[in-house]
Protein backbone atom coordinates (compact mmCIF):
# COMPACT_ATOMS: atom_id res chain seq x y z
CA UNK A 1 0.00 0.00 0.00
CA UNK A 2 1.34 3.39 -0.89
CA UNK A 3 1.36 5.23 2.41
CA UNK A 4 2.71 8.53 1.23
CA UNK A 5 0.85 11.77 1.63
CA UNK A 6 -1.20 10.71 4.66
CA UNK A 7 -0.59 14.02 6.38
CA UNK A 8 -1.92 15.84 3.32
CA UNK A 9 -5.05 13.69 3.49
CA UNK A 10 -5.57 14.41 7.18
CA UNK A 11 -5.03 18.12 6.52
CA UNK A 12 -7.64 18.07 3.78
CA UNK A 13 -10.16 16.21 5.89
CA UNK A 14 -9.50 18.63 8.78
CA UNK A 15 -10.12 21.62 6.56
CA UNK A 16 -13.41 20.08 5.41
CA UNK A 17 -14.58 19.42 8.94
CA UNK A 18 -13.63 22.90 10.09
CA UNK A 19 -15.75 24.33 7.28
CA UNK A 20 -18.67 22.10 8.28
CA UNK A 21 -18.33 23.19 11.92
CA UNK A 22 -18.29 26.82 10.87
CA UNK A 23 -21.44 26.42 8.81
CA UNK A 24 -23.12 24.50 11.64
CA UNK A 25 -22.24 27.20 14.18
CA UNK A 26 -23.45 30.01 11.92
CA UNK A 27 -26.79 28.40 11.18
CA UNK A 28 -27.37 27.51 14.84
CA UNK A 29 -26.43 30.87 16.29
CA UNK A 30 -29.84 32.29 15.36
CA UNK A 31 -31.47 30.37 18.20
CA UNK A 32 -29.92 30.60 21.62
CA UNK A 33 -31.70 28.65 24.36
CA UNK A 34 -30.74 28.97 27.95
CA UNK A 35 -32.30 26.79 30.66
CA UNK A 36 -33.88 29.93 32.11
CA UNK A 37 -36.25 30.58 29.23
CA UNK A 38 -37.05 26.95 28.58
CA UNK A 39 -40.18 27.05 30.81
CA UNK A 40 -38.96 24.08 32.81
CA UNK A 41 -39.46 25.77 36.18
CA UNK A 42 -42.80 27.14 34.89
CA UNK A 43 -43.98 23.60 34.28
CA UNK A 44 -42.85 22.51 37.73
CA UNK A 45 -44.60 25.43 39.41
CA UNK A 46 -47.78 24.77 37.45
CA UNK A 47 -47.91 21.13 38.47
CA UNK A 48 -47.09 22.06 42.06
CA UNK A 49 -49.99 24.52 42.09
CA UNK A 50 -52.47 22.07 40.59
CA UNK A 51 -51.42 19.39 43.06
CA UNK A 52 -51.76 21.75 46.03
CA UNK A 53 -55.27 22.78 44.93
CA UNK A 54 -56.20 19.15 44.33
CA UNK A 55 -55.17 18.20 47.85
CA UNK A 56 -57.04 21.11 49.37
CA UNK A 57 -60.15 20.33 47.31
CA UNK A 58 -60.37 16.72 48.47
CA UNK A 59 -63.36 16.40 50.81
CA UNK A 60 -62.69 15.00 54.25
CA UNK A 61 -65.67 12.68 54.06
CA UNK A 62 -66.55 10.10 51.47
CA UNK A 63 -69.89 11.58 50.41
CA UNK A 64 -69.67 13.08 46.92
CA UNK A 65 -70.30 16.81 46.69
CA UNK A 66 -69.56 17.46 50.34
CA UNK A 67 -67.72 20.69 50.94
CA UNK A 68 -63.96 20.28 50.72
CA UNK A 69 -61.50 22.14 52.98
CA UNK A 70 -60.92 24.51 50.07
CA UNK A 71 -64.67 25.13 49.73
CA UNK A 72 -64.91 25.82 53.45
CA UNK A 73 -62.10 28.36 53.15
CA UNK A 74 -64.01 30.12 50.40
CA UNK A 75 -67.23 30.03 52.42
CA UNK A 76 -65.52 31.30 55.58
CA UNK A 77 -64.21 34.38 53.85
CA UNK A 78 -67.24 36.63 53.99
CA UNK A 79 -67.46 39.83 52.00
CA UNK A 80 -64.98 42.49 53.08
CA UNK A 81 -62.98 40.35 55.47
CA UNK A 82 -59.50 39.13 54.61
CA UNK A 83 -58.81 35.47 54.08
CA UNK A 84 -56.79 33.91 56.87
CA UNK A 85 -56.89 30.17 56.08
CA UNK A 86 -55.87 29.82 52.43
CA UNK A 87 -52.99 32.22 52.99
CA UNK A 88 -51.51 29.77 55.49
CA UNK A 89 -52.26 26.41 53.96
CA UNK A 90 -51.58 27.02 50.26
CA UNK A 91 -47.93 28.18 50.63
CA UNK A 92 -47.47 25.34 53.10
CA UNK A 93 -48.57 22.79 50.51
CA UNK A 94 -46.45 24.44 47.83
CA UNK A 95 -43.31 24.12 49.91
CA UNK A 96 -43.95 20.61 51.18
CA UNK A 97 -40.99 18.28 51.02
CA UNK A 98 -39.64 18.18 47.51
CA UNK A 99 -36.27 19.49 48.64
CA UNK A 100 -36.30 22.08 45.89
CA UNK A 101 -36.50 24.86 48.42
CA UNK A 102 -34.77 27.43 46.24
CA UNK A 103 -37.73 27.45 43.89
CA UNK A 104 -40.66 27.02 46.23
CA UNK A 105 -39.48 29.29 49.01
CA UNK A 106 -39.57 32.20 46.60
CA UNK A 107 -43.13 31.66 45.36
CA UNK A 108 -45.80 34.33 45.65
CA UNK A 109 -49.41 33.95 44.64
CA UNK A 110 -52.63 35.81 44.04
CA UNK A 111 -55.96 33.93 44.08
CA UNK A 112 -59.18 35.11 42.47
CA UNK A 113 -62.65 33.56 42.55
CA UNK A 114 -64.78 33.68 39.40
CA UNK A 115 -68.43 32.81 39.80
CA UNK A 116 -71.53 32.92 37.65
CA UNK A 117 -74.33 35.23 38.73
CA UNK A 118 -77.80 34.70 37.33
CA UNK A 119 -79.66 37.40 39.22
CA UNK A 120 -82.32 39.18 37.19
CA UNK A 121 -82.12 36.66 34.38
CA UNK A 122 -78.80 38.05 33.14
CA UNK A 123 -75.85 35.68 33.22
CA UNK A 124 -72.50 37.20 34.01
CA UNK A 125 -69.15 36.27 35.47
CA UNK A 126 -68.14 38.16 38.58
CA UNK A 127 -64.85 37.96 40.40
CA UNK A 128 -63.26 39.03 43.62
CA UNK A 129 -59.85 38.77 45.19
CA UNK A 130 -59.83 35.70 47.38
CA UNK A 131 -56.34 35.64 48.83
CA UNK A 132 -52.80 36.75 48.15
CA UNK A 133 -49.45 36.11 49.74
CA UNK A 134 -48.25 38.79 52.18
CA UNK A 135 -45.36 39.94 49.99
CA UNK A 136 -47.13 39.66 46.67
CA UNK A 137 -47.56 43.38 46.12
CA UNK A 138 -43.93 44.19 46.85
CA UNK A 139 -42.68 41.37 44.67
CA UNK A 140 -44.70 42.60 41.69
CA UNK A 141 -41.81 44.97 40.99
CA UNK A 142 -39.27 42.26 40.29
CA UNK A 143 -41.40 39.25 39.56
CA UNK A 144 -40.97 36.69 36.84
CA UNK A 145 -43.95 35.88 34.58
CA UNK A 146 -46.80 34.27 36.50
CA UNK A 147 -48.26 30.81 35.97
CA UNK A 148 -52.03 30.35 36.11
CA UNK A 149 -53.62 27.32 37.74
CA UNK A 150 -57.37 26.88 38.05
CA UNK A 151 -59.71 24.61 39.90
CA UNK A 152 -63.47 24.28 40.05
CA UNK A 153 -64.74 24.30 43.62
CA UNK A 154 -68.14 23.03 44.65
CA UNK A 155 -69.94 25.41 47.01
CA UNK A 156 -73.20 24.42 48.74
CA UNK A 157 -74.14 28.11 49.18
CA UNK A 158 -72.63 31.56 48.76
CA UNK A 159 -70.21 33.09 51.29
CA UNK A 160 -71.90 35.42 53.75
CA UNK A 161 -72.24 39.13 53.18
CA UNK A 162 -73.09 39.05 49.48
CA UNK A 163 -76.37 40.30 48.11
CA UNK A 164 -78.50 38.36 45.65
CA UNK A 165 -77.20 40.44 42.77
CA UNK A 166 -73.58 39.72 43.72
CA UNK A 167 -73.53 36.00 44.42
CA UNK A 168 -76.05 33.22 43.75
CA UNK A 169 -76.94 31.74 47.12
CA UNK A 170 -77.33 28.15 45.96
CA UNK A 171 -75.32 25.06 45.12
CA UNK A 172 -72.82 26.04 42.47
CA UNK A 173 -69.38 25.63 40.97
CA UNK A 174 -66.97 28.53 41.23
CA UNK A 175 -63.61 28.74 39.50
CA UNK A 176 -60.60 29.45 41.67
CA UNK A 177 -57.75 30.89 39.64
CA UNK A 178 -54.37 31.19 41.30
CA UNK A 179 -51.48 33.07 39.74
CA UNK A 180 -48.13 31.84 41.03
CA UNK A 181 -44.82 33.50 40.34
CA UNK A 182 -41.26 33.56 41.58
CA UNK A 183 -40.17 36.80 43.12
Amino acid sequence: MNDEGQLYTIEGVTAGIIMLVTAFTIFNSGIVYTPGDAHISDMQIQQLGYDALLMMDTPGEMAPLSASPLALMILNKSKGTPDNEFVNSFPHYLSLGTGTTDIVDSLEYNATIYHRVTHGGVEKVQSYLFSSSPNSEVSLLTREPAISVTRYVWLPRSPTGYGASEYDNEKQLVLLEVLIWRR
Partner: protein
Protein backbone atom coordinates in the same frame (compact mmCIF):
# COMPACT_ATOMS: atom_id res chain seq x y z
CA UNK B 1 10.09 22.37 -1.99
CA UNK B 2 11.03 21.12 1.40
CA UNK B 3 9.85 17.62 2.15
CA UNK B 4 6.92 17.41 4.54
CA UNK B 5 7.90 15.92 7.86
CA UNK B 6 5.56 12.97 8.12
CA UNK B 7 6.62 11.76 11.54
CA UNK B 8 3.99 11.43 14.24
CA UNK B 9 1.02 11.00 11.98
CA UNK B 10 -0.72 8.76 14.51
CA UNK B 11 -0.39 11.43 17.19
CA UNK B 12 -1.84 14.06 14.86
CA UNK B 13 -4.73 11.81 13.87
CA UNK B 14 -5.58 10.79 17.43
CA UNK B 15 -5.54 14.40 18.57
CA UNK B 16 -7.82 15.19 15.71
CA UNK B 17 -10.26 12.38 16.61
CA UNK B 18 -10.42 13.58 20.22
CA UNK B 19 -11.20 17.10 19.01
CA UNK B 20 -14.07 15.80 16.86
CA UNK B 21 -15.35 13.73 19.77
CA UNK B 22 -15.42 16.76 22.05
CA UNK B 23 -17.29 18.71 19.40
CA UNK B 24 -19.95 16.01 19.11
CA UNK B 25 -20.39 15.89 22.88
CA UNK B 26 -20.78 19.68 22.93
CA UNK B 27 -23.57 19.39 20.34
CA UNK B 28 -25.34 16.79 22.48
CA UNK B 29 -25.10 19.00 25.57
CA UNK B 30 -26.35 22.03 23.66
CA UNK B 31 -29.51 20.09 22.75
CA UNK B 32 -30.47 19.68 26.42
CA UNK B 33 -32.17 23.09 26.87
CA UNK B 34 -34.01 22.56 23.59
CA UNK B 35 -35.34 19.19 24.73
CA UNK B 36 -36.35 20.68 28.10
CA UNK B 37 -38.10 23.54 26.33
CA UNK B 38 -40.21 21.38 24.05
CA UNK B 39 -41.06 18.95 26.83
CA UNK B 40 -42.00 21.69 29.30
CA UNK B 41 -44.08 23.53 26.70
CA UNK B 42 -45.98 20.37 25.82
CA UNK B 43 -46.71 19.71 29.48
CA UNK B 44 -47.86 23.30 30.08
CA UNK B 45 -49.99 23.33 26.95
CA UNK B 46 -51.77 20.06 27.61
CA UNK B 47 -54.86 20.65 29.82
CA UNK B 48 -54.49 17.44 31.81
CA UNK B 49 -55.34 19.00 35.15
CA UNK B 50 -58.35 20.92 33.83
CA UNK B 51 -59.83 17.78 32.30
CA UNK B 52 -59.18 15.72 35.41
CA UNK B 53 -60.77 18.44 37.54
CA UNK B 54 -63.92 18.55 35.38
CA UNK B 55 -64.08 14.77 35.25
CA UNK B 56 -63.80 14.47 39.03
CA UNK B 57 -66.50 17.08 39.58
CA UNK B 58 -68.87 15.40 37.12
CA UNK B 59 -68.36 11.95 38.61
CA UNK B 60 -69.04 13.41 42.07
CA UNK B 61 -72.14 15.15 40.80
CA UNK B 62 -73.59 12.14 39.02
CA UNK B 63 -72.97 9.99 42.09
CA UNK B 64 -75.41 12.18 44.03
CA UNK B 65 -78.07 12.22 41.31
CA UNK B 66 -79.93 8.99 42.18
CA UNK B 67 -80.88 10.41 45.59
CA UNK B 68 -81.40 13.96 44.43
CA UNK B 69 -84.97 15.17 44.30
CA UNK B 70 -84.16 18.03 41.96
CA UNK B 71 -81.80 16.52 39.43
CA UNK B 72 -82.51 18.92 36.63
CA UNK B 73 -81.56 21.95 38.73
CA UNK B 74 -78.25 20.43 39.78
CA UNK B 75 -77.31 19.37 36.26
CA UNK B 76 -78.30 22.72 34.81
CA UNK B 77 -76.22 24.58 37.38
CA UNK B 78 -73.18 22.39 36.69
CA UNK B 79 -73.54 22.60 32.93
CA UNK B 80 -73.93 26.36 32.81
CA UNK B 81 -71.25 27.09 35.42
CA UNK B 82 -68.76 24.90 33.60
CA UNK B 83 -69.62 26.26 30.17
CA UNK B 84 -69.40 29.94 31.14
CA UNK B 85 -66.41 29.80 33.49
CA UNK B 86 -64.35 27.52 31.24
CA UNK B 87 -65.04 29.78 28.32
CA UNK B 88 -64.20 32.97 30.18
CA UNK B 89 -61.13 31.85 32.15
CA UNK B 90 -59.69 28.71 30.53
CA UNK B 91 -60.46 29.58 26.89
CA UNK B 92 -62.12 26.22 26.54
CA UNK B 93 -65.44 24.86 25.38
CA UNK B 94 -66.42 22.34 28.02
CA UNK B 95 -69.56 20.48 28.85
CA UNK B 96 -71.20 17.17 29.45
CA UNK B 97 -74.27 15.12 28.71
CA UNK B 98 -75.86 12.32 30.69
CA UNK B 99 -77.65 9.33 29.21
CA UNK B 100 -77.57 10.19 25.51
CA UNK B 101 -80.43 7.83 24.79
CA UNK B 102 -82.63 10.25 26.73
CA UNK B 103 -81.53 13.53 25.18
CA UNK B 104 -78.46 13.76 27.37
CA UNK B 105 -79.85 16.20 29.84
CA UNK B 106 -81.26 14.32 32.78
CA UNK B 107 -80.59 11.30 34.89
CA UNK B 108 -82.70 8.48 33.50
CA UNK B 109 -83.77 5.90 36.06
CA UNK B 110 -82.97 2.93 33.89
CA UNK B 111 -79.63 4.27 32.72
CA UNK B 112 -78.13 3.84 29.31
CA UNK B 113 -77.12 0.23 29.66
CA UNK B 114 -77.94 -2.49 32.12
CA UNK B 115 -76.77 -5.93 33.15
CA UNK B 116 -78.04 -8.19 35.92
CA UNK B 117 -76.13 -6.39 38.70
CA UNK B 118 -75.75 -2.78 37.61
CA UNK B 119 -77.36 0.04 35.74
CA UNK B 120 -74.81 2.04 33.76
CA UNK B 121 -75.31 5.74 33.27
CA UNK B 122 -73.33 7.16 30.40
CA UNK B 123 -71.71 10.56 30.89
CA UNK B 124 -70.27 12.23 27.81
CA UNK B 125 -67.59 14.72 28.76
CA UNK B 126 -66.16 17.04 26.15
CA UNK B 127 -63.44 19.62 26.37
CA UNK B 128 -61.87 21.66 23.59
CA UNK B 129 -59.45 24.52 24.07
CA UNK B 130 -58.51 24.87 20.43
CA UNK B 131 -55.29 22.89 20.81
CA UNK B 132 -56.47 19.83 22.65
CA UNK B 133 -59.80 18.17 22.09
CA UNK B 134 -60.92 15.61 24.62
CA UNK B 135 -64.06 13.51 24.56
CA UNK B 136 -64.85 10.78 26.99
CA UNK B 137 -67.80 8.47 27.35
CA UNK B 138 -67.80 7.39 30.94
CA UNK B 139 -70.04 4.64 32.23
CA UNK B 140 -70.99 5.15 35.84
CA UNK B 141 -72.35 1.97 37.42
CA UNK B 142 -75.22 2.05 39.87
CA UNK B 143 -75.97 -1.12 41.84
CA UNK B 144 -79.48 -2.39 41.22
CA UNK B 145 -81.35 -2.58 44.52
CA UNK B 146 -83.16 -5.87 45.11
Amino acid sequence: METLNDEGQWIVMMGFLVAIGMFMLAIVISQAPLVGQTTAESVIEFPKNEVQDLRGKLVSMTSTLPDDTNRLTLQKRFREDIALLSMSRNNAIAGFGIDPLNNGNYWHENGTYKDIEYTYHQINIYYNNGITKYNENLLLPEKIQR
